[in-house]
Subunit: 436 residues, 3 copies
Amino acid sequence: RETVCIFGTGDFGRALGHKMMQSGYPVVFGSRSTQTSSLIPKGAEVFSHAEAAQKAAIIIIAIQRQHYNFLIPLAEILRGKVLVDVSNNLKINQYPESNAEYLAQLVPGAKVVKAFNTVSAWALQSGTLDASRKVFVCGDDMEAKQMVMAIVHALGLTPVDQGSLLAAQEIENYPLQLFPMWKFPVLLSLGLTAFFFFYCLARDVIYPYVYENKDFSFFIAISIPNRICPILALILLALVYLPGVIAAIIQLYRGTKYRRFPDWLDKWMLCRKQLGLVALAFASLHVLYTLLIPIRFFVRWRISSRIVSQALNNKTEPLNTTNAWLSDSYLALGTLGFFLFVLLGITSLPSVSNNVNWREFRFVQSKLGYLTLILCTAHTLVYGGNRFLSPSSYRWYLPNAYMFSLIVPCIVLVVKFVLIFPCLDKPLTRIRQGWE
Amino acid sequence: RETVCIFGTGDFGRALGHKMMQSGYPVVFGSRSTQTSSLIPKGAEVFSHAEAAQKAAIIIIAIQRQHYNFLIPLAEILRGKVLVDVSNNLKINQYPESNAEYLAQLVPGAKVVKAFNTVSAWALQSGTLDASRKVFVCGDDMEAKQMVMAIVHALGLTPVDQGSLLAAQEIENYPLQLFPMWKFPVLLSLGLTAFFFFYCLARDVIYPYVYENKDFSFFIAISIPNRICPILALILLALVYLPGVIAAIIQLYRGTKYRRFPDWLDKWMLCRKQLGLVALAFASLHVLYTLLIPIRFFVRWRISSRIVSQALNNKTEPLNTTNAWLSDSYLALGTLGFFLFVLLGITSLPSVSNNVNWREFRFVQSKLGYLTLILCTAHTLVYGGNRFLSPSSYRWYLPNAYMFSLIVPCIVLVVKFVLIFPCLDKPLTRIRQGWE
Amino acid sequence: RETVCIFGTGDFGRALGHKMMQSGYPVVFGSRSTQTSSLIPKGAEVFSHAEAAQKAAIIIIAIQRQHYNFLIPLAEILRGKVLVDVSNNLKINQYPESNAEYLAQLVPGAKVVKAFNTVSAWALQSGTLDASRKVFVCGDDMEAKQMVMAIVHALGLTPVDQGSLLAAQEIENYPLQLFPMWKFPVLLSLGLTAFFFFYCLARDVIYPYVYENKDFSFFIAISIPNRICPILALILLALVYLPGVIAAIIQLYRGTKYRRFPDWLDKWMLCRKQLGLVALAFASLHVLYTLLIPIRFFVRWRISSRIVSQALNNKTEPLNTTNAWLSDSYLALGTLGFFLFVLLGITSLPSVSNNVNWREFRFVQSKLGYLTLILCTAHTLVYGGNRFLSPSSYRWYLPNAYMFSLIVPCIVLVVKFVLIFPCLDKPLTRIRQGWE
Ligand SMILES: Cc1cc2nc3c(=O)[nH]c(=O)nc-3n(C[C@H](O)[C@H](O)[C@H](O)COP(=O)(O)OP(=O)(O)OC[C@H]3O[C@@H](n4cnc5c(N)ncnc54)[C@H](O)[C@@H]3O)c2cc1C
Ligand SMILES: Cc1cc2nc3c(=O)[nH]c(=O)nc-3n(C[C@H](O)[C@H](O)[C@H](O)COP(=O)(O)OP(=O)(O)OC[C@H]3O[C@@H](n4cnc5c(N)ncnc54)[C@H](O)[C@@H]3O)c2cc1C
Ligand SMILES: Cc1cc2nc3c(=O)[nH]c(=O)nc-3n(C[C@H](O)[C@H](O)[C@H](O)COP(=O)(O)OP(=O)(O)OC[C@H]3O[C@@H](n4cnc5c(N)ncnc54)[C@H](O)[C@@H]3O)c2cc1C
Ligand SMILES: NC(=O)c1ccc[n+]([C@@H]2O[C@H](COP(=O)([O-])OP(=O)(O)OC[C@H]3O[C@@H](n4cnc5c(N)ncnc54)[C@H](OP(=O)(O)O)[C@@H]3O)[C@@H](O)[C@H]2O)c1
Ligand SMILES: NC(=O)c1ccc[n+]([C@@H]2O[C@H](COP(=O)([O-])OP(=O)(O)OC[C@H]3O[C@@H](n4cnc5c(N)ncnc54)[C@H](OP(=O)(O)O)[C@@H]3O)[C@@H](O)[C@H]2O)c1
Ligand SMILES: NC(=O)c1ccc[n+]([C@@H]2O[C@H](COP(=O)([O-])OP(=O)(O)OC[C@H]3O[C@@H](n4cnc5c(N)ncnc54)[C@H](OP(=O)(O)O)[C@@H]3O)[C@@H](O)[C@H]2O)c1
Ligand SMILES: CCCCCCCCCCCCCCCC(=O)OC[C@H](COP(=O)(O)O)OC(=O)CCCCCCCCCCCCCCC
Ligand SMILES: CCCCCCCCCCCCCCCC(=O)OC[C@H](COP(=O)(O)O)OC(=O)CCCCCCCCCCCCCCC
Ligand SMILES: CCCCCCCCCCCCCCCC(=O)OC[C@H](COP(=O)(O)O)OC(=O)CCCCCCCCCCCCCCC
Ligand code: HEM
Ligand code: HEM
Ligand code: HEM
């Protein structure tokens, strides 16, 4: 294999050199000081920049952008060479032009390729490539890009061609991103959490304190979270299926699929997966909190004081079968709903979804997804049951919080139910299949 | 990169064109109407079919099969070109010959390659390639196939070579399949579920209604499912390990491994993974239902009425240590069994199993798997314990349902136990290693 | 595609032949007996070894090492051919030289390549490639290696180039390894488990037996495991974050990152992932055991006898709000901690971690990881709460077991807290970024 030259004996340069030598590439380093330290990978030689550059066709610049101007005097030697820019910035869009474009301006005769900036020195060095193995590559010279991609491949990484050097800005921004697709779902749920927190606080803690002088402040730890979590789970789950319904209405109205959806709908559709997973997280918390109920001190106290008072009043209650039915059926509905919910989560794992075909994925995500929504909504409805009309559940004229959570799911389910009637489903299918 | 031509400006044609332009391929469209709409990806040109075909060596036919005959007049222009058939059907084996073979008959001079039918337009367009990235490719011309596979690769998809155009039928059926490997396990468990449901209904609901006039109909919601689920989990788990035992007996009997197993055994062996995962699903439901027990209305009522009657009778029971031992140990056995069960599930995730070597995978799936089976069987045995002989558990001479669930696991464990005796294990090892 | 020859019609030879023919390679077998049996894949021909070798440039030796000497007479025919060694051994480092090197010595004129030893015959035959798809390839001849890697690729497997034939020993040892990275975490936790088991046995079972003559032996099944598991989970979790803290102190002390860490620290850092997952396993068991509490016979007995005695004494207790607060808040802290713990586990799944960038991975593993540690430590502290000082919790002068579990986490958290003060954080950041 052809020799590769690396400028810079810092962390990244050494780690890359180490990995390359493992994969059979001869490596030479170009450095300011040419004495080899014990950290330099064994078998690699260290030269001055100019010397090292002459020994290879590919030169990897493992140096921060702010030091690039030392390359200007070397421009003649670097003419026609492939320069690989690996640098990252500290902030998104820190400089007006990308580092790779800046390098191309500094050394106009060279073929600049952007690569390797997404892997970390520590991962390369220790062999534990835990975060992404994807290496985005871009550059204007096709052949140079191919050479770099071959190296990426040989190192056991996955090269992804991103086109011309114009893509460098985006590639440099990529490692600085922090879950961009999750921003909207997370912010939305934070907002809703805050709202429902204060709502429940008013109803469940302040109201009894004011009117009954009871101190239920400890509800903040479990009871209130166990109201907020299921409510959010249900609302977010419904928001996953709402855009599909809206899209269907738009398509029916327009009579064609050959027109763009409004922008907000497009964006919403793209973050349905994230919305769904956040909903799953809330649902899991709900389930955990619910299962904790019997070991809470408060609950044990309430049950035992109720039994003691029963015993003292010499009263034995017969079994209320209706209540047994209601309790068992809302619990069973919730359990089945949660089970399917977890199944949806498991099929979103990239390695699982990559092993099913499109029809299977749609079957799980769309069919089973609606079933999940139905079960969860039914769970809440049966739980609410007779409380809807009871005046004691309206404190300060505020209805029980879960009533809010039922609005979106019920809308989605009703509209979806209308949409599967043949008189609407047939034209829709025709529109979507594109038989004009 | 060389220009690619796409016939058809429908959903799929546009989506593919969009993706290709992103990856640096110049794209021309061939369409019935040559005016560019706003939906056509920017930078692509639209021509008549004949004109477009002349501009590229590869032509992708993104048009439904039923319209293919418009290609007949173009046969001359298409001579020597690579035609890529991307089409899908609505039903499995809808036509006698595959679409790709039909295309090859229509345009005899062209080199037909089947590809891309497994990816969806929506996935290509939105970049969220959630379902499979695998693109099956087949074709009679080696070079044409290589060209198409290079494009597939450049698009970030995974080409899988399936050989000659004869494979097209299978490739076209692939996206229409719905979990073929899961059919048997799911049907089997549905059948068993139905059987055990009616069995338990008779014993647990109808019997008390008839003889004691008690209305336990609400058992249908949780109590009966929580009998069916663990029983099915245990039976299915045992069925995972039964074929291995049968295979061993067959091999011992035959004295060689160089003969095919009977067909049913082969098929059974191939769906062990699915059987195991269905068993895991049932076990998870069992665990969830079990953890719900203390918050069920009925259970709370039963406990409190028992305590009240104790208090009224002025009776304090001493701790029965045997019962405490029995209860704690069957719960502990179940917990450990379930823990290992989940571990088996986690190691079946494609990305995890792909990161362990064969010995490790076998260690988990075979050794830990048997341990799981032992623990779960012991759990049920200890739970059943003294109920086996008590006559009250035989209603209408029907034994308790869980007794059925113990048959298969006990057989598997006993036979396996016999098989690991050196006098049988040694010849078996010799047979399997192939030292005749 | 060029013809491939396989020596040996055993399990592996046939399975490989079968797979190759599926991928379009013509296959000839070389065997001691040239009659084709029904097991030989259809379309393949069987010849004598010499004849078969002449028909192909690549020869796969699917025969055990101990029979290799039959190749010596064939040396002339094999000159210049590519010989692929697929063999495995029964023990690590069974022979002084690797099988592939031994083969190269036996047939000096041939180009030996090591490959395919990591896939199993069963997996190839049945198409269920569940364990690793990685095929390590090594060899001294570059071109020969490329040819073999092309075949590996065409078979749908992932070739990984490991360099020269010197790597063969390591490649042959790979399939014999059994979770090498997990050894230290598992042994450590076994040791700690044993210690805490006897410690708790003494305090919780023997002490009451000796002094109060109470038989709590059944605590061995659930109560004691439910002490050991959370304690181990907490200690192991803290041990995940301890090396990072130690590394920071060392770097601060040295004033540079350009010096190796001591060896034990390097090794410790590399098994943090495994430590964390073992901790997660213990935590899951703790949670399951905890949720079981209310259905344990002993707990039910204790609660009901307490209520009965309350009723008999005609006593009603008012709600103790402090206790309600303490109970609810330690449960809530544990729940949130466990939730984040599972999230850490999910992001360690290879397919998930491969889809996040480095910054995101660090955010989850480092930031959320510390949050998990804080929550779990707080959970234990609040649970312990007033028991620290109560003399009744010192039996035989032994403190409660959970007090030990708090030592390491508290050290880690305190040191980390000190390290994020600007006066230490700034120099550390400077050191790590390498701006001397
Ligand atoms: C726990 C959980 C996990 C999830 N994980 C994922 C995940 O991993 N990946 C994921 O994508 N989603 C995921 N989701 C989101 C959700 O399940 C899917 O988006 C689901 O497929 C939506 O189904 P639908 O029937 O509403 O939409 P669809 O039937 O997909 O329809 C959506 C709308 O888009 C339009 N449309 C779709 N295809 C076309 C087309 N070819 N031509 C024209 N218009 C079209 C239609 O107008 C349609 O109405 C997850 C959800 C949850 C709860
Ligand atoms: C939750 C769960 C998840 C599971 N996930 C998976 C999964 O992901 N993948 C999977 O494959 N299974 C999976 N299984 C199924 C099961 O764990 C495995 O099939 C398990 O390896 C069977 O072990 P065994 O010891 O019975 O069979 P084995 O020891 O494999 O033996 C089976 C029989 O096959 C024959 N055989 C096997 N290899 C050879 C050979 N080389 N030559 C000749 N004969 C041979 C032998 O006759 C042997 O008796 C799962 C099970 C569960 C419960
Ligand atoms: C359930 C669970 C799952 C886990 N899964 C994983 C996993 O999948 N993968 C994994 O890796 N870990 C995993 N871990 C372990 C753990 O989360 C990580 O190791 C975590 O990143 C450590 O964070 P830290 O802040 O202590 O260390 P870091 O901030 O990473 O620092 C560690 C030390 O290494 C040194 N260091 C790191 N980078 C450099 C550098 N560039 N130059 C010089 N020195 C450097 C520094 O001295 C630093 O102090 C898991 C843990 C748990 C509990
Ligand atoms: N570390 C990572 O994980 C990582 C990941 C992706 C990308 N990168 C990128 O890789 C590059 C190097 O990062 P690093 O972590 O290796 O940094 P580093 O450890 O600070 O190394 C930088 C090296 O650049 C050289 N250098 C410094 N000042 C110079 C100057 N004025 N003139 C010439 N050479 C100079 C030095 O090498 P000599 O002493 O040999 O001259 C020094 O070792 C950066 O652009 C970074 O964005 C790093
Ligand atoms: N959509 C998917 O997700 C998907 C996935 C895999 C495979 N496919 C396959 O891709 C093909 C196209 O699917 P599609 O979803 O894009 O369908 P579509 O939206 O209906 O587009 C079909 C296109 O074919 C052209 N066409 C229609 N009738 C024609 C005729 N009589 N003569 C010539 N051209 C005609 C039209 O293009 P002009 O108006 O430009 O002529 C039309 O836009 C199908 O074979 C399908 O099986 C689709
Ligand atoms: N089985 C696996 O899963 C697996 C996985 C990876 C690697 N391997 C390796 O593949 C090789 C073969 O394994 P296997 O499982 O196929 O073993 P096998 O079933 O025992 O087959 C060995 C074959 O070697 C030939 N052979 C036996 N003695 C011979 C002799 N004295 N002279 C010449 N040929 C002789 C025989 O073929 P003929 O009767 O046709 O001459 C026999 O079928 C081993 O090195 C093994 O380590 C196997
Ligand atoms: C209420 C808790 C619910 C728990 C649900 C456990 C469900 C297990 C059922 C697995 C379903 C897999 C669907 C596969 C779709 C498919 O065909 O997928 C196909 C793929 C690939 O198949 P091939 O390799 O055969 O092509 O199969 C898989 O990837 C299997 C994935 C297995 C995942 C198991 C995950 C276990 C995690 C357990 C968490 C449990 C938590 C319990 C808490 C109490
Ligand atoms: C009763 C519930 C039991 C929950 C069990 C949680 C177990 C966690 C232990 C992880 C074991 C991993 C085995 C790995 C085999 C291996 O070596 O695997 C090796 C691979 C690859 O390793 P390398 O990258 O180091 O080569 O490692 C992994 O893939 C790690 C997988 C981590 C999986 C964590 C999954 C968390 C899901 C949690 C669900 C929890 C539900 C809880 C409900 C109450
Ligand atoms: C207490 C129990 C806690 C259960 C926690 C469930 C959490 C679900 C939240 C998912 C979080 C995903 C983080 C993704 C990071 C990321 O960006 O990851 C990015 C990747 C890839 O994203 P792109 O494909 O969009 O680029 O996304 C994923 O891989 C999604 C993984 C989903 C995993 C769901 C697993 C479900 C298993 C459920 C077990 C439940 C057990 C319940 C027991 C009671
Ligand atoms: C194992 C599964 C589940 C169980 C055991 C369960 C149990 C319960 C219980 C006991 C309550 C009453 C809580 C209280 O008294 O405060 C409840 C309420 C509720 N549950 Fe569930 N549930 C499950 C799953 C789900 C899921 C998956 C969802 C939705 C996505 C959900 C949505 C709700 C809602 C909205 C409420 C009303 C919240 C309130 O205002 O109190 N549940 N559930
Ligand atoms: C955390 C793990 C588990 C717990 C806590 C648990 C608990 C229980 C309980 C309390 C019962 C009695 C149910 C009743 O009274 O109706 C039971 C029954 C049973 N369990 Fe489990 N179990 C666990 C895991 C498992 C697993 C993994 C299996 C098998 C695969 C299993 C198989 C059975 C069977 C067959 C029965 C008898 C069912 C009947 O007829 O009632 N259990 N379990
Ligand atoms: C859903 C989550 C959790 C719940 C409901 C929970 C609940 C409990 C309960 C009820 C106890 C008292 C046990 C007893 O009385 O014997 C306990 C103790 C403890 N928990 Fe948790 N816990 C959770 C998660 C965790 C996690 C994630 C950790 C640590 C990694 C942890 C560490 C501990 C420790 C160290 C103890 C003291 C053990 C002892 O000596 O008894 N817990 N937890």
